[in-house]
Symmetry: C3
């Protein structure tokens, strides 16, 4: 089995959840074709995340953002606030959702479920 | 190193956390034996999750379900509700717990800790 | 591609979030050098976790601990309390943050972002 590593640069994103399946698919096109294997995506930030969620209704992404705002924003006990009040919520999202994904490659394509999309959260345009 | 891919169909599950270690172990029996490697499990849904948790006391799974109900159910700001009020909580569980696991295979078996079990959440019988 | 497996024993940790990048780097020194590959870390516990977060300001780790205390401690509905009131919060952290990490190895080193550190949570000295 061969291993191939490459850096993908995502387009800048606004605060919130973003569907990036097309960006990843496009990046894979210029990489060596793999018939069967595992795609490992790793985001080199602590204020951004990668996750898999519903790809159809954009309301899901809006609800996700509002849910994290609800549970993690503006806690009176946060000490780490000098980078802005949205910094700790970004670290929490990144830790809870995770910063990497492993996706099976089957027949040369990402073997995602019908409704699965790759999502990226960013607080500011960090990518 | 060889790579082997196979589809496992889980039995239908009720809403909640379920221990699926025996189902996975049974599925592995019919696959090529691997002495040392990495088992990557990936669930092709956005309303179901895979995680690792205590395998002994079923109360842990009940507490987990009640905890997610507590933090994520019936938020007044949810927009994505046309598939039911339990749909967003399912997406949140799936995103927070994750939809894949990577487990070392050592001496031909999953190298789990004594108390570690593979758990699956489902909202309805989606699998 | 070769596969190498080894057990790393972490030093005992107090309750909270701990930066363990140096411990992992030190452990890697005694393993076969890999130019390009994937490091998979898997913690064999259900009351401990592995995650990636900011490595610079220790306040981030303090805020993370306080955030999880805030959302998960002392819920009146917890049934699984006979191992102590901090046991369910530990399982929740472990499930939400995850018990494994996959980190690219590039040019013989972990290819982490500048601010990324490997973090471990423990409730008691379980490792």
């Amino acid at each position: 089995m061969a291993i191939h590593q490459e850096t993908i640069t995502l387009s800048p994103k606004s605060k919130g959840f973003h569907l990036i399946t097309p960006e990843i698919e496009k990046a894979l096109l210029s990489m060596p074709s793999i018939e069967r294997g595992l795609l490992h995506l790793f985001i080199k930030h602590t204020s951004a995340s990668l996750s898999i969620n519903e790809n159809a209704d954009p309301s899901v992404r809006e609800d996700m953002e509002n849910f994290f705002t609800d549970i993690a924003d503006e806690k009176p006990y946060y000490i780490h606030t000098y980078e802005g009040s949205d910094d700790m919520p970004a670290h929490i999202k990144s830790s809870m959702l995770g910063n990497s994904l492993s996706i099976p490659i089957t027949n040369g394509r990402m073997n995602l479920g019908t409704w699965q999309g790759i999502e990226n959260t960013a607080e500011t345009a960090v990518l």
